[in-house]
């Protein structure tokens, strides 16, 4: 009836071997394990059903995700400020020492205003959200919930030629793309794993969330802090996230149809029993293995970048700084995609860590030569409008931030994980092309409409 494939000899042997192993395992199990007959309905089965049923599976998944985001964003604010205050006060002390020793001002500039300040920015913006997000994520991991997410979503990924576990690496990417890229190890098949690595960047990480939130707040307007307003802002951010997911699936699809062609590898997913989580271990492991690891890499990249940014902003040719020269040079290209030279340059200088993009933009507009933080959103809004920003600029900054090349830490991690310069380059070029293309499209639509 069925045209059986040719089964070769080693397959037959393997069948014998595996069958013998399982037979023996079964014998032993029968001899040593006894069950008390207990026909009570198993609570674990009910929980599992609720988490993966047609009706409740998705709403619960979205609720959990939304709750973690909310906790991360809301919870990180205060410690971020606190940390910044402490670290900046150290900066003052360090500056005093420099003055004390009569150090040349350029040295103070590079070391303190450049390197130290950039590192402080990165630490104070990245550490608190990661310290909240990663333990939450590890908790879900420990409970055994994450494989259920992959189970729920696999079909979408299958259609894109990718693996269901990619949904987990994406969820990890919300915390940090570098961590997301490392987590791609859970995908066995090399092809699907590479797809997951190359597209991880399309989910915005903790470093880009503040930018997205700030700019959406500006775009929506600050008609006092009404409920409707924050609702609209969250809505806009969620739409952006969904867009990122759509782009992920599309790029995965294109990749698996073109340069990463291949039959989808076998898919199997173990749905382990739920376990009582160990809170202590979760906190320790997520802080050590994930948070500090990622932070370490970020700081290592931020230090030299800080020096470069300071130099660009402080060395002048003619009457204006190199920073401004480059921005002017980039202007024609940037305007074509609805941005301006300063913004594009900021994204490039923000390569070490995405959270320094907005500060670089301020710095350039205000012509102050070190990175600063503007206190209120309204102040920010005025500054941007006076520099010619429109709704399109806001929209495209968010799109560009969502879709552009990964930060240096992530690129470094991709290099480590793929052990290939080619794929590292691809992971830079693909998102950049996508970002430019989409920004160009929105710009063209705007030009047609208005």
């Amino acid at each position: 009836m069925v045209d059986y494939c040719q089964i070769n000899k080693s397959d037959i042997y393997r069948d014998y071997i595996v069958t013998s192993l399982y037979k023996r395992a079964n014998e032993i199990e029968k001899a040593v394990v006894s069950y008390s007959k207990d026909k009570k309905v198993n609570i674990d089965d009910i929980i599992d059903l609720i988490l993966t049923s047609k009706l409740t599976g998705f709403p619960i998944m979205l609720l959990i995700l939304a709750f973690i985001f909310w906790l991360t964003i809301a919870g990180a604010n205060i410690p971020s400020k606190l940390l910044a205050n402490i670290l900046f006060s150290i900066e003052e002390k360090l500056s005093d020492i420099f003055i004390c020793f009569n150090a040349p001002s350029w040295l103070h500039g590079i070391l303190i205003l450049g390197m130290f300040r950039t590192a402080v920015w990165v630490i104070s913006v990245m550490l608190p959200p990661m310290a909240i997000f990663f333990p939450c994520f590890t908790l879900l991991e420990d409970l055994g919930y994450l494989p259920r997410v992959a189970f729920n979503l696999d079909r979408l990924f299958k259609k894109s030629g990718a693996h269901g576990k990619q949904s987990l690496t994406m969820a990890m990417g919300f915390g940090c793309n570098a961590a997301g890229v490392i987590s791609c190890r859970i995908i066995d098949s090399p092809r699907e794993r590479l797809i997951a690595i190359l597209t991880n960047n399309f989910v915005p990480c903790n470093g880009r969330f503040p930018t997205l939130i700030a700019i959406s707040t500006i775009l929506i307007g600050t008609a006092s802090h009404s409920f409707l307003n924050s609702f609209l802002v969250s809505g806009l951010v969620i739409i952006l996230i969904l867009l990122g997911i759509v782009v992920t699936l599309l790029v995965s699809l294109i990749a698996s149809k073109t340069f990463l062609k291949g039959t989808p590898s076998t898919f199997s997913l173990e749905l382990p029993p739920f376990r009582k989580p160990q809170i202590g271990r979760i906190i320790i492991r997520s802080i050590f293995d994930r948070t500090l690891f990622v932070l370490g890499r970020a700081v290592a990249v931020a230090l030299p970048a800080g020096a470069v940014i300071w130099l660009l902003a402080n060395i002048t040719i003619g009457d204006i700084s190199i920073l401004k020269h480059i921005a002017n040079f980039l202007d024609p290209f940037a305007l074509a995609i609805g941005l301006d030279g300063v913004i594009v340059l900021a994204f490039f200088l923000g390569l070490p860590a995405n959270e320094i993009v907005l500060p670089i933009i301020f710095m350039s507009y205000l012509s102050t030569t070190t990175m600063i933080e503007i206190e209120s959103i309204e102040q920010m809004r005025q500054l941007f409008i006076s520099n010619g920003w429109t709704s399109l600029t806001c929209l495209n900054i968010m799109l560009f931030s969502l879709l552009h090349f990964p930060c240096a830490t992530t690129l470094w991690t991709i290099k480590k994980e793929t052990q290939s310069i080619k794929w590292t380059l691809a992971s830079f070029i693909i998102p950049t092309v996508v970002a430019i293309l989409i920004c160009f499209i929105t710009k063209s639509i705007f030009s047609l409409l208005f």
Binding site: M1, V2, Y4, C5, Q6, I7, N8, D11, R14, D15, V18, T19, Y22, D48, L49, T52, S53, K54, G57, F58, F151, N152, L153, D154, R155, L156, K158, G164, P264, T266, F267, S268, L269, E270, L271, P272, P273
Partner: protein, 81 residues
């Protein structure tokens, strides 16, 4: 009789069946064997993903999800509903 064997993906949720045959070779066969999908093993169909695929199967007291494509390679005989 072979005629009565059906692919695992056609078995309804809640039904229990016995594995009779794997109709793949090579790596794919090995994967299934490693998961415990071998002849004469009992499998219960637990549930489908909210999107219809994959499906979770209870085999040797562990829950394993397979996509339609993989499950269709496992021929089974239904023993109970």
């Amino acid at each position: 009789m072979e005629e009565i064997y059906i692919p695992l993906n056609k078995v309804n949720v809640g039904q229990t069946c016995i594995i009779k045959e794997l109709k793949v070779t090579g790596k794919q066969r090995r994967r299934l064997l490693d998961l415990g999908f071998i002849k004469d093993t009992q499998v219960k169909v637990i549930r489908k993903s909210p999107l219809g695929d994959p499906t979770a199967y209870l085999i040797r007291k562990s829950l394993v999800a397979l996509r339609k494509e993989e499950a269709s390679n496992v021929l089974v005989e239904i023993i109970s509903d």
